[in-house]
């Protein structure tokens, strides 16, 4: 075991992939000389050279589409979109091409493409740099969506994405890059589509992922201090969604709170809630609750941004409410 940051964990997976598979290359804006906007790829240009660590122009749609083409042509490209906000410029390629080509070609084509991007708010970046759109992307069949919350998953899910024969979008919450965690040396790739119980409990299920896991675990700690044992589930993958783990937990706790940063309206929390309703309704002691982002463009001022994002007191309050301790 060693303790490394989320950023270093991604970099170690990138290095491992570049070392072990000659088909792998990395491309994106400022991934080379600059070292990555979040310093994730720092040092990789020097180590692997400009053929395999490629700085691109600010042309999101085209370098993402080129990633699709290169994947069709036998490579295993890793495309870095600096942040999810800029992925909107590449939506055509992701939705119309990456997601469709296998099915639409009658199974002739496959797009083994990995797309990494930073996501989320909480850094006072205001309304155009704080999106949490991973749930949006999870709406689309043909692509897979993962959102690692801890360094071990940042590495393990990226390695899994690289082994996957289909396009995988990896959402890295931007506040997590400096966060450290234990990582098992030489651990195998994680499994895409498998949620994990991060803290066991029997009173209420707190279901979350990515940048909200830390807050949710904090909330669970506060609840435990009050004698309420919350079970914390880290989804890790939004598509495929591990409905089994969610339902097993809710069958035990009979109560569910979903915590995510995305806008409440039509967010991933709504989907999780619907799945619980459809398959776990008769095991519930109360309505499924959501602690989601406020339905507003993200404000810049710190106190206003805090108010727009799920916070620990709100998670605690939602759980207590369900338990009749409101």
């Amino acid at each position: 075991m060693s303790k490394i940051s989320y950023r270093e964990a991604i970099r170690s997976a990138l290095r491992e992939a570049l070392q072990s598979d000659p088909r792998v290359f990395l491309m994106g804006e400022d991934v080379g000389r600059y070292g990555g906007a979040f310093k994730v790829s720092h040092g990789l240009l020097e180590e692997f050279g400009p053929e395999r660590v490629r700085d691109t122009p600010l042309s999101e749609s085209t370098f993402l589409g080129a990633g699709i083409g290169a994947a069709l042509g036998g490579m295993r490209p890793i495309v870095e979109i600096m942040t999810v906000n800029f992925s909107l410029l590449a939506l055509d390629q992701i939705v119309n091409n990456a997601a469709t080509l296998r099915h639409m070609s009658g199974g002739q084509l496959g797009v083994p493409l990995v797309v990494r991007m930073a996501t989320g708010g909480g850094r006072q970046m205001a309304a155009q740099h704080s999106h949490s759109l991973e749930g949006w992307f999870a709406h689309i069949p043909g692509i897979k969506i993962v959102a690692p919350a801890v360094p071990a998953d940042a590495r393990g899910l990226l390695l899994a994405a690289l082994r996957d024969p289909d396009p995988v979008l990896v959402f890295e919450h931007a506040t997590l890059y400096p966060v450290e965690g234990e990582i098992e040396d030489g651990a195998p790739p994680a499994e895409i589509g498998q949620a994990l119980v991060r803290r066991p409990g029997d009173a209420v299920s707190l279901i979350t992922y990515g940048g909200s896991l830390g807050k949710t675990l904090e909330a669970a700690g506060q609840l435990a201090a009050a004698g309420i044992e919350a079970e914390v589930i880290d989804l890790r993958s939004l598509r495929p969604l591990d409905t089994r783990t969610i339902l097993d937990s809710v069958a035990k706790t009979h109560r569910a709170v979903i915590v995510d940063e995305a806008w409440r309206m039509c967010g991933i929390a709504a989907e999780v809630s619907a799945q619980i309703m459809e398959a776990g309704f008769y095991g519930l002691d109360g309505p499924v609750a959501r602690v989601s982002g406020a339905d507003v463009p993200m404000p810049y001022a710190k106190h206003m941004e805090d108010a727009a994002l799920p916070q620990i007191p709100a998670i605690v309050a939602a759980a207590r409410e369900l338990l009749g301790h409101g």
Binding site: N97, G106, D166
Partner: protein, 331 residues
């Protein structure tokens, strides 16, 4: 290229000269039949006919080898046939049958045949260009001596992916042959109504991309220009933008009442029908006689009839397979 161009001299190889006519004739007959089958309800969805533009696909395809990649648009019947995809598998695809080239998943707009390196059939205007850049990048990184030919229309030139793709391909000196089929209309909007600089060839300059324009109604000229362009790309000269100036004789799609252009204009262009022009030149040059022309027509007729039989006899994909190939099957 200004005014009416002088025809490019005919090739001396009679076999090749007749082959060009055969391919254009097959595309024409195939599409006439498709239009008829559409009106009979055998084919549904969109049907974008290439009639009038046959010389572009047939001429350009002569410059490619089987190792090269082709990326095309939703108006790709001509490219698919010229690439050698069997007419039956294309017709079956339009029927929506499981023996279609995309198993009935794509229809007229989404032909795929990986065995012939035919990568679609893309129905978002300009959406195929970045994919072509990526295919060329994969070849460059793997040291494959292939080029990627990417067809698109004049409408695509207004899209950002056109500009980004030319820039990226030139920046990385990738082997892409950009083939703009300028049929003068982006659906119903005339070139002058959507381009501040309607001379498409000149758009290469801004990106350092070598470019040329050719009379797209002259199959011999298209072949010659495509061979020059492909040689430039193959020899490591970076991408090339070839604009073929052509005209679509039929409506944009089956849904188009053609309110945006005059009957006179269409009739004037029909005087430059690429098949009629080329046939006349073959006759004048003594390269084809009545018997040759009859044989070519009969072979197209037979091939299309066979394609219809193949499509009619094809099975429907079982509904149980609806979700098959959304993702790769688990090993």
């Amino acid at each position: 290229m200004t005014g009416r161009p002088e025809p490019t001299p005919l090739a001396l190889d009679r076999g090749h000269a007749l082959e060009l006519l055969r391919q254009m004739g097959l595309i024409r007959r195939f599409e006439e039949k498709a239009a008829e089958l559409y009106s009979r309800g055998k084919i549904r969805g969109f049907l974008h006919l290439y009639i009038g533009e046959e010389a572009v696909a047939v001429g350009a395809m002569q410059a490619l080898t089987p190792e090269d990649n082709v990326v095309a648009t939703y108006r790709e019947h001509g490219q698919a046939l010229a690439r050698g995809i069997p007419a039956g598998s294309l017709m079956a695809e339009m029927y929506g049958k499981a023996n279609g080239c995309s198993r009935g998943r794509g229809g007229s707009m989404h032909f795929f045949d990986v065995s012939r390196r035919f990568y679609g059939g893309h129905a978002i205007v300009a959406g195929g260009l970045p994919i072509a850049v990526g295919l060329a990048l994969a070849d460059a990184l793997q040291g494959r001596p292939a080029i990627t030919a990417c067809f698109f229309g004049d409408g695509a030139v207004a899209e950002w992916e056109f500009h980004e793709s030319l820039n990226l391909a030139a920046l990385w000196r990738l082997p892409v042959l950009f083939l703009c089929e300028n049929n003068l209309y982006a659906m119903g909007t005339a070139l002058a109504g959507h381009q501040s600089q309607p001379d498409i060839r000149r758009k290469g300059e801004g990106y350092g991309v070598a470019a040329d324009a050719v009379d797209g109604m002259d199959v011999v000229a298209v072949e010659a220009a495509a061979r020059r362009a492909a040689a430039h790309v193959r020899d490591g000269g970076g991408p090339f933008l070839l604009e073929a100036r052509t005209y679509r004789f039929r409506a944009h799609s089956t849904a188009d009442p053609e309110l945006y252009r005059s009957r006179d204009e269409v009739e004037r262009w029909k005087q430059r029908d690429p098949i009629a022009l080329y046939t006349a030149r073959l006759r004048e040059g003594g390269l084809a006689g009545d018997a040759d022309l009859r044989a070519i027509e009969a072979s197209a007729e037979d091939e299309v009839a066979g394609a219809v039989r193949f499509a009619e006899a094809g099975p429907w994909e079982p509904v149980e397979d609806l979700a098959r190939d959304v993702y790769a099957e688990r090993a």
